[in-house]
């Protein structure tokens, strides 16, 4: 074991929690991310941002985690956005039609700016 297969970092921004994922999002690592979701503090009207810039691999189990995050945000009355989606992940998203469901932005900062412009 050189590096953990997946690292997860959570930071709080004015718009809501930003979750940075790096590594492999698959059926080995998905349960760990799912377990972290209930701990995310989200207020109604906020936006949960998933920063996927460091995701090297994402399979169907990884997709379920992103959907679980979306369910979590919607249940809190918040929105969800993706940031820095790698091409190999956005390709899967296009095939399964999730590109219509998750707004995507080039960076977490851009996602936050988009939230500000809709909130104001």
């Amino acid at each position: 074991m050189t590096q953990p297969p997946l690292t997860l970092r959570i930071r709080t921004a004015p718009a809501g929690a930003v979750v940075e994922l790096a590594g492999e999002l698959d059926h080995q690592t998905a349960p760990g991310v799912r377990a972290a979701l209930p701990g995310l503090e989200l207020l109604p009207g906020q936006q949960l941002v998933l920063d996927l810039g460091g995701v090297e691999f994402c399979d169907s189990s990884g997709i379920t985690v992103l959907i679980a995050a979306r369910n979590h945000a919607l249940a809190a009355g918040a929105g969800i956005a993706l940031a820095a989606v790698p091409e190999h992940v956005s390709r899967i998203f296009r095939v399964v039609g999730l590109d219509q469901v998750f707004p995507a932005h080039p960076t977490a900062r851009a996602a936050e700016a988009a939230w500000r412009s809709t909130a104001s």
């Binding site: 399979d59 369910n71 790698p86 190999h88 399964v96 219509q100």
Partner: protein, 446 residues
């Protein structure tokens, strides 16, 4: 490592009498010290004779010069039977003696010590005693070897432990085989035992199991509907294992039941979406991607019409009788089970005589190609992050182009060969289903 020198005398502690006993009437602590001192004085000789391990000292020619009571008791020998009469190797079993000659003694000569060797001693009554043996060469002041000191530990417990370990391992192996059989059986129940025989259609399917330990989530079926129509589906449930198998089972039966009431492919997938969405939501969402097709015979011109609806599944490949090959896209279709109002996209084509339609799951296109040479791909393998090359959609399209025109069984046969070539690069289950409208006999003579 050198042996101990002769100046290192045993029984040292007895020459340094404690002073605690020389202060009578000094109260409790002094008495305790006296007892402790007595223990020390008593222990050296007694410890040697009755230590919880065997001791023996042998001369350089192997003859036993000294042996403790513990070891004599273990072996059931009298001291006089042993001292000066036999050597250490005489106490060993035949196999142990051979090992002693060929390994133990040479190592001892080279290194001055040998540690923790498992041997078997033969007791006077013929029973065998498993032991762990450690020896050291004791040298004189001039560095010349004088004798060999050996400690012998009773290893009966350890032998029992090893036997127990072996037994547990065999048990675990048996359990693993049982689990694999169970997984294989469960997998089989999720697939039709044999594809239905559709008049006027050549059909073929294959399921590639990537792991014998876990049930995969791919599925397919082909079944009759009313008025000469046929339903078919192929899909992929997210995840692996028992939980995925439960979703696969629910998906399969829902699709078949829904098609009986309303065989329209979009309606069938909507129905499935509602069922899965009600069953699995919240923190543990489950979804599948699936293609559902409704085949109706074209009585006027021959062949079939097929309406395909897709819920987020990779597009089917259509290999025409004239050799042209294209994807059959259903853009905008969304995966089934997690969105309350998933969009389902449909398309209709006519399958003329000579045409072949191929449905597949992404286990094939997601297969790793970097570890395998000569995959038949011409560099179209998709690249994910980290430089991990996958077989890819473009490579599959080229592969199909090279096959066309073809038949269902030839297509599935070629895909099986391709999966074999990709070997361990295929780390997810793969299902393929091909249907082909044979040319009429007169067409074959052209």
């Amino acid at each position: 490592m050198t042996g101990r020198t002769s100046g290192d005398e045993e029984g040292g502690p007895s020459e340094h009498p404690g002073d605690g006993g020389e202060h009578p009437g000094d109260g409790g602590p002094a008495d305790e010290q006296a007892q402790f001192s007595a223990l020390l004085e008593d222990s050296a000789e007694d410890l040697y004779e009755h230590a919880p391990c065997g001791y023996l000292s042998s001369l350089l020619d192997g003859r036993i010069a000294k042996i403790n009571t513990t070891l004599l008791n273990w072996l059931g020998y009298e001291r006089d039977d042993v001292l000066g009469r036999i050597s250490f190797s005489d106490l060993l079993t035949a196999g142990g003696r051979l090992y002693h000659e060929t390994h133990y003694v040479p190592l001892l000569r080279m290194q001055g010590e040998v540690r923790g060797i498992a041997l078997e001693l033969r007791a006077a009554d013929g029973t065998r005693l498993p032991v762990l043996v450690t020896s050291e060469v004791r040298t004189g002041g001039d560095g010349q070897p004088l004798l060999i000191r050996t400690t012998v530990f009773d290893a009966r417990d350890r032998r029992a432990y090893e036997t127990e370990l072996l037994r547990a391992r065999k048990e675990a192996d048996r359990e693993r085989e049982r689990l694999q059989r169970l997984a294989t059986t469960l997998q089989r129940t999720l697939l039709p035992p044999a594809l239905a025989n559709v008049p006027g259609l050549d059909v073929s399917a294959y399921y590639h199991i990537a792991s014998v330990d876990e049930v995969g989530g791919d599925f397919y079926d082909l079944f009759p509907l009313a008025d000469g129509a046929w339903g078919l589906f192929l899909g992929d449930v997210c995840g692996k294992g028992a939980a995925a198998a439960a979703v696969t089972s629910l998906t399969r039966y829902t699709l078949r039941a829904a098609a009986v009431y309303d065989p329209g492919p979009v309606a069938v997938l909507r129905n499935l979406n509602t069922v899965l969405n009600h069953e699995y939501n919240g923190d543990d969402p489950r979804f599948c991607t699936v293609v559902f097709g409704l085949l109706t015979p074209d009585h006027d011109r021959g062949g079939f019409h097929i309406t395909l609806a897709s819920g987020g599944h990779p597009p089917a490949l259509l290999m025409r009788a004239d050799g042209t090959t294209d994807l059959l896209p259903t853009p905008g279709g969304q995966l089934i089970g997690v969105l309350p109002d998933a969009h389902i996209a449909a398309t209709t084509v006519r399958l003329a005589p000579g045409d072949t339609l191929l449905l597949h799951t992404d286990g094939l296109t997601e297969a790793h190609v970097n570890s395998t040479a000569g995959t038949g791909s011409d560099g179209h393998g998709g690249v994910t992050g980290g430089g991990d090359a996958r077989y890819g959609d473009d490579a599959l399209l080229d592969f199909a182009r090279a096959l066309a025109p073809t038949t269902a069984s030839d297509t599935v046969g070629a895909i099986r060969d391709l999966l074999d070539t990709l070997g361990s690069g295929v780390d997810d289950d793969t299902a393929v289903l091909a249907i082909h409208v044979p040319r009429p006999p007169s067409g074959e003579q052209q």
